[in-house]
């Protein structure tokens, strides 16, 4: 029993962190939102070179989680969950280039080399239809027209890895918002002192710290459920998704509150995470769906 990352896993996290800290990921996200995919695709390529696209087939869910937490922390744009978590498991192979899947709408179908849709528990090819605007401007969502069925692997396992990767992304995004909020309240002064010295603000931020601290072990615990324990895996993934959605959402609301009006503007970077968190809360299973799945598995309700 050692419920801590191994040295290799820590090193992997550190290398992703240094790559993403050095890249201007917010600029890439903003460009992506405006329809300029170039900086985002360059970033995609560099992350692929670090092995992020092959983790789902070549590594363990723990490494997948480590990577997606980093993607969330840096607000990296693109259909990462679809291409690097769902499809590799669904297809039983790494995606060449970028893939996406209608679940129910397809994220970033306009940049995808491969596009699929899930219909009645089977995987099909698909083509992109009308585009929709997401609360997260860096998420371009498309309707899909279903094509021919394709051979596929375990779609339930693919869904769970996608939901878990989304949970990890939320965790990273929540951590980022908390870190930025803490930095801000230490600088911002009102009524003659740093606002971070007011107990009302301290307690709000402490609650975010506590919520994230208890969401994290659920994510890694779900990544460690042995293959074969399907009910246990579904339950663990759903718990992780619910807890990360709640914690990250709390972080985003609190982050906005302590920033005040500047946090409400699109020009301030906090908006990139606030809107992403709101989108990810309902992506790959809403909190209500995941809670229902947990209850069903525990009491057969």
């Amino acid at each position: 029993m050692r419920f801590e990352l191994t040295t290799d896993q820590r090193d992997f996290a550190a290398s992703l962190e240094s790559l993403l800290s050095a890249a201007d990921t917010v600029a890439a996200a903003r460009a992506w939102a405006a329809g300029d995919h170039d900086p985002g695709l360059k970033l995609w390529q560099r992350l692929a070179e670090q092995g992020v696209t092959e983790l789902a087939t070549e590594a363990t869910p723990v490494e997948v989680v480590v990577a997606f937490e980093a993607l969330g922390r840096h607000a990296v744009p693109g259909p990462w969950v679809e291409s690097a978590a769902y499809l590799p498991v669904a297809l039983g192979r790494e995606v060449e280039g970028i893939g996406t899947v209608g679940a129910p709408r397809a994220l970033d179908a306009d940049v995808a080399d491969e596009l699929y849709a899930v219909v009645d528990g089977a995987l099909h090819t698909a083509t992109a239809g009308a585009a929709h605007v997401s609360v997260d401007r860096a998420r371009h969502l498309f309707d899909v027209t279903v094509g021919d069925p394709v051979e596929h692997g375990d779609l339930a396992a693919a869904y769970d890895l996608a939901a878990l990767a989304t949970a990890a992304q939320l965790l990273g995004a929540g951590e980022r918002v908390l870190a930025d909020a803490v930095t801000y309240v230490k600088q911002r002064r009102q009524f003659g002192r740093e606002i971070g010295s007011y107990q009302a603000i301290k307690h709000k931020l402490a609650d975010v710290r506590i919520a994230l601290d208890f969401a994290r072990p659920l994510v890694f615990g779900a990544a460690l459920v042995p293959t074969g324990s399907i009910t246990e895996r579904e339950r663990a993934v759903s718990a992780a998704k619910v807890a990360c959605a709640d914690a990250a959402y709390l972080a985003s609301r609190t982050g906005l509150q302590v920033h005040g009006a500047i946090g409400y503007t699109q020009e301030f970077d906090l908006s990139v995470w606030i809107t992403k968190i709101r989108a990810l809360v309902t992506a790959w299973g809403t909190p209500a769906e995941h809670r229902a799945r947990i209850l069903d598995s525990l009491v057969g309700a």
């Binding site: 801590e4 301290k202 307690h203 229902a292």
Partner: protein, 382 residues
Amino acid sequence: MDLDLSPSELAFQAEARAWLAENVPAEPLPSLDTPEGFELHRQWEAKLSAARWPVVSWPEEYHGRGASLVEWIIFEEEYYRAGAPLRVGQNGIFLLSPILFEHGTKEQQDRFLPSMATGEKVWAQCWSEPEAGSDLASLKSTARRDDERGGWVLNGQKIWCSRAALAHWGFGLFRSDPEAQKHAGLTYFLFPLDAEGVTVRPIAQLDGEAGFAEVFFDDVFVPDADVLGAPGDGWRVAMSTAGNERGLSLRSPGRFTAAADRLLALYADRPDPRVADRVVDAWIGAEAYRLYTWGTVSRLKDGGDIGAAGSVNKVWWSELDVALHETALDLLGADAELESTWLDGYTFSLSGPIYAGTNEIQRNIVAERILGLPREPKGAQK
């Protein structure tokens, strides 16, 4: 990264599970804060100690098994899963013993630990004073040096002393140097509650039981042999207790995972879709706590310490405990107000956010020591 137990840990788990299945009383014991329940709980402690289960992490010479931290958590999980009685000796075992092991003399360890393990002597925690709650260092009860008799003379008053109504010994801090600064000049004393000059006044709690008491000290003599740690060093000695109380040792995850399982059984019995999400959230909260604890254990095994994370922990389990029990009462509907183990558990859970440093104090600690936020300016205090 893994959550797998070793073969020896699995064997330990199997042994504990089998013994508990065989020995846990079929019916819940009466409250340990009633005279009858107190005696029955002490008998249970004696039974535990005869089978060497009362303090698995202690050395064998003091009725322990020298168990690892992982094994201790395993035992606690099994203990609560089996529905075993609350530990009447918990103040001594969980709060005082870590300090005795760290700061006590060998003579003190030999004198106090065995009877603590067997339930023969039950300890009361005498921390707070009427004017010193969470601001513990502002306490005023005094210890005056008595060189002639080789000891100290205690005067003053302690309040909210857990288990003091029925316990045998108490532990607490007294101001031994009135000239010293707030945190300095405090000394940690151990004292029998039937000593001359000690008056114990039981105080009924919300549930009607005298779970705590007020204790008055009127020229109570305590020999040097019953000072824990060095005179004047009481604050530092006591803070290791506070860390334990907020951190791992008092509220092992087994307590909450077992309660979550009982909540699910209650839901299965009386399903109410309006309460379903809260049932799920209580289960998620307990599961998060269980996994979080394995992370803490892993860090401790690697040589880390709990530190301020004990405050994160305390807020979580105390609020989880209330939520679990509130949810159960809502499922019970109109029956919720009738006496039941759920209602007992609910009443007890209400004390969690208050004791061991209120959750407001814990949130300040999280904000200041973990997030690094500035302290309130001096002028804002008082």
